[in-house]
Structure formats: C-alpha cells, structure tokens
C-alpha cells in the first residue's frame, strides 16, 4: 500500500492535469463558437482591441528594441570567432522575425493582457457581476470571452509585426552606431535575406499566441475561486499557463514550419 501511494499520487496528478486540459479545450471550442454566432458586442470588441493592441505597443516596442540590440551584439561577438561578423543583419532579421519577435510579444501579452483579463473576469465573478450578466439575459461567453479572444487573434499578429520591425531596428542601431556597419548595406542585407514565408510564419505564430493568451486569461477568470485569494490564484495560474503554452506552441509550430 505504502509502495503504491506515490504511484497513486502521480496517477491522481495526471488525471487532474488531463481533466484541466479537457476543460480548457472545451472552453476554447465554446469560445470560438461564440465568436462566430450573434449577438456581437462591438463596444466590448473595440475596447479589447484598444487594451490588447494599442496599449501593449510601448512594452512590445521596448522589449523588441533591446532584444534586437542585444542580439546584434551577441551575433557580432560570436561571429567574430570564425570571421563571420558580416552575418549580423541576416541573423538579427531571421532571429527576430522567425523566433524572438513572436515569442517575446507572446510572453509580453501573457504578462500584460492575460493577467489583466484573468483578474478582471475573476473579480467580476467574485462580485457576482457574471451572475448579474446572466440574469440580464446576456451570455458571459459572448459578452466577456468572445470579444477578447477575437481581438487577440486579430491584433497580436500586428503587434508581432511591429515587434519584428522594432527589433530589427534595434539591431540596426547597434550595428551601425557601434559595430561599424554601413546603414545602407545593413538594410539591403536584411531585406534581401528575409523571405515572405519568414514573415508569414511570424504572423501565424502571433495569431496562435494571441489566442492562447486571451483564452487562458478568460478561462482562469471564469473558473476562479472565491475571494481575493481566488482572484490571485486565477491571475497567477493564467500567466503561468499562457507562458508555458506559448512556448510549447512555438516549438510545435516551428517544427511544423520546418517540415513544410
């Protein structure tokens, strides 16, 4: 019995995890169904676009510019070991567009937007505002979840595009101001090297990461427990889940893109 108890605990944890995955999957399918069916709440959608998109621009821009700059320095130093310093523009471009741009934007959105959505919806649940919505003949999935998920699906690819450009600009600034690269040559190398598929894969990743971030915020908010502790747990859980799922999705999508 004692020997089996760790196995029992492990089995229980696996079952709990599978149950959570199942609930989250059903929630996501339900949310996507509500996006497609009326009524649509235009005001809520516009507010979500503003909150997720426009108001995230500063943190996305700052993250991207510093990452692009650091990337240029690293590639220059690493490339110097085998006389390949000249590849800085190409590697910064492909690194930002294919990988770092989408992942960093996704993680920033998870930190900024997922937490905010989870805390807001969890507080609404704790203060009975979600029950109030139901008594006012308004479906919480339609009013709270669908607009946020749709806005994230549409606007995060745009943020990724902005992050890609600003990240490349950060690398450009460092390379031309302190590493001795010629501005025109740097830009030409960047543009010539990038392919349309690089950009498209970046935007597809942005769409997926945006959906994950918004869905996790909504899911943990709607499932939150009671009181301030319930709100805190929902917020923490949503960010952890969104960050892990974004990194896992990035790995899977990268594998799929390379296999195409």
């Amino acid at each position: 019995m004692t020997l089996l108890s760790p196995l029992g605990a492990l089995g229980g944890a696996v079952l709990a995890a599978l149950g959570a995955v199942g609930r989250a999957t059903l929630f996501a399918l339900d949310a996507l169904g509500h996006i497609l069916r009326p009524p649509f709440y235009g005001r809520e959608f516009a507010l979500a676009l503003l909150q997720i998109g426009w108001l995230s621009l500063p943190v996305v821009g700052l993250t991207a510019v510093f990452t692009g700059g650091a990337l240029a320095l690293q590639i220059y130093a690493g490339g110097a070991r085998f006389n390949a310093e000249a590849v800085v523009p190409q590697i910064v471009a492909i690194g930002m567009v294919r990988e770092l741009g989408p992942v960093l934007v996704g993680l920033m959105i998870a930190a900024r937007v997922t937490s905010s959505i989870a805390a807001e919806i969890a507080t609404m649940k704790v203060t009975e505002q979600i029950d109030a919505l139901v008594t006012l003949s308004t479906h919480p999935m339609k009013y709270l979840v669908a607009p946020r998920v749709l806005a994230a699906l549409l606007v995060v690819p745009g943020l990724v595009a902005v992050g890609d450009v600003i990240g490349i600009a950060g690398g450009y600034a460092v390379a031309t101001l302190s590493l001795g690269f010629t501005p025109a040559v740097y830009l030409r190398n960047t543009v010539d090297f990038l392919e349309m598929w690089d950009v498209l894969s970046s935007l597809i990743k942005g769409c997926a990461f945006g959906g994950i971030a918004a869905l996790m915020g909504c899911y943990f908010g709607m499932m939150s427990g009671r009181g301030a502790q319930g709100v805190g747990r929902a917020t923490k859980g949503s960010v952890e889940a969104a960050a892990v799922l974004i990194l896992a999705a990035n790995f899977l999508l990268t594998g799929v893109f390379f296999s195409l």
């Binding site: 009524p39 507010l47 609404m124 203060t127 009975e128 505002q129 029950d131 109030a132 919505l133 139901v134 008594t135 006012l136 003949s137 308004t138």
Partner: protein, 248 residues
C-alpha cells in the same frame, strides 16, 4: 406562480438544500429568512438557473423552468444582488439600462438613457449620478442603482438578495421602504432573501424560514410572532439559546 417541489442541492458533502417545497403566489412579497449558510442564496440562484439543482422541480406558472426558453424566462425577472453587482466598466445609466440596450427590442441609446434616469429618480437618485461610475458611489447609492437596474425593464418577478446588508440602519430603512413601494406599485411578485428582521417586517406579505435545507415554517408576516415554532421564535428574537445551534 412560483412553485418549488423537493428542490435539493449539495456542494460536495455539504447538503445545502435537502428538499425545499414552497409556493409563492403571484403579486405576493415572500421573504425567505434563515441563518447564514442555510442556503437562501443558493435557493434563489436555483430558481434563476444560476445553479442547477440536484433534484426537485421549479415551476413558473405551471411550467417546469428547466424546459422553458431561457431568454423569455429571464426577461420576466429582475434581481438586486447582495453587493449590487454593478458593472465597473459602465457608467451608472448604462448599468441601469443594460437590458434595455440588448436583444431584438432594444431601445435607442437616448431612449434607454431617459428610461434609466427615470428609474434612478424613482429610487431617489438625481440625474447627475447617471454619468458616474459605480466605484464613485457610496454603498447605499450602489444598492439604489442596483434596484433601479432590477426594475428598469419592469419585470413581473423581482428577487432581492440581502438588500440591506452593509448599510446603516437609516439607509436600510430607505431601501426597505423603496422595495415595498416599488413592489406594490408594479404589482410584481417579489422574493427577498434576508436575515434582517426589520427588512422582513417592512417588505414581507409572507415569510418562509429555511433551516437545515428545508422550509421550517411558512405563513403570513402577521402570524410570525405567534407561530409557536421554536426555531422561528429563536431566530426572530435573535436568541443564542434554542433548537438552532448558535455555532454552525
């Protein structure tokens, strides 16, 4: 009009409702009393469909509510929540007019705003409150806004969940009087959950006491003091000694 037949609900091992039978006639103001944690709010949420009962039937005008059209069913109800449950992101007038701005028969924004301001006046609030946000209001004002929202669409049935909780005695009296006036003038059926005995006497036509997951006593408010039921007598006099355990 509203009939409860053997309604039961448990949360894990905690059997909150253990077979509630109750009839509320049309146009009657029924007040459900009972100690904290006896399942009063759960009962109310079962009727509204916010919580699904494990057993029993809930009938509205002879029709099982679990088979009724959900939107049409909810359109007949208004509800004042314990903490008012106003939407933080919306100004007061949009909170009040929320239902009026939804659905096929939605009003224009200006008409909905006019109706909201009329309802705010009805609950004793001035029009300048309309454009403020809930966080800018006192607890008493929030309750009034919640009341205005509950009556905005002129429902046939209004539920009040602990309407005076957290209010000072004077504001509690104001809310009680407002509820009584509004229910009488609208001819609505009202169901109020409370353990505030001054609310009971101000609002109720009939009273039902919930204890141990069942209706312990029910009758007209005037018969409450001479009921002879030891549970009800202990409760209305707030005594620690009696059949109800003081520490639950």
């Amino acid at each position: 009009m509203i009939g409860l037949d053997g309604v039961a609900k448990a949360f894990g091992p905690n059997r909150v409702l253990q077979g509630v039978d109750l009839d509320i006639d049309s146009g009657t103001s029924m007040v459900i009393i009972g100690g904290s944690g006896t399942g009063k709010s759960v009962l109310l949420k079962c009727i509204l469909g916010l919580v699904t009962p494990d057993a029993g039937r809930i009938m509205l005008d002879g029709q099982d509510v679990s088979r009724a059209d959900r939107d049409a069913f909810l359109a007949r109800f208004g509800m004042l929540f314990q903490g008012a449950a106003l939407f933080d992101s919306l100004p007061v007038w949009q909170n009040v007019a929320f239902r009026l701005l939804q659905g096929r028969n939605r009003l224009s924004k200006s008409d909905a705003r006019d109706r909201a301001i009329a309802k705010l006046r009805r609950v004793g609030l001035t029009p300048d409150v309309a454009d403020r946000f809930p966080a800018e209001l006192s607890g008493g004002m929030q309750k009034r806004v919640g009341l205005a929202r509950a009556i905005a669409a002129e429902p046939e049935i209004i539920f009040f969940d602990e309407p005076t909780t957290g209010l000072d005695p004077i504001m509690a009296g104001v809310i009680n009087d407002l509820i009584r006036e509004i229910v009488t003038e609208m001819g609505a059926t009202a169901m109020t959950i409370t353990h505030d005995m001054s609310s009971v006497r101000a609002i109720a036509d009939r009273v039902a006491m919930l204890h141990n997951g069942r209706i312990q006593w029910t009758g007209p408010v005037g018969a409450m003091d001479d009921s002879g039921d030891p549970y009800l007598t202990q409760f209305i006099h707030g005594r620690a000694d009696g059949p109800i355990e003081a520490v639950r």
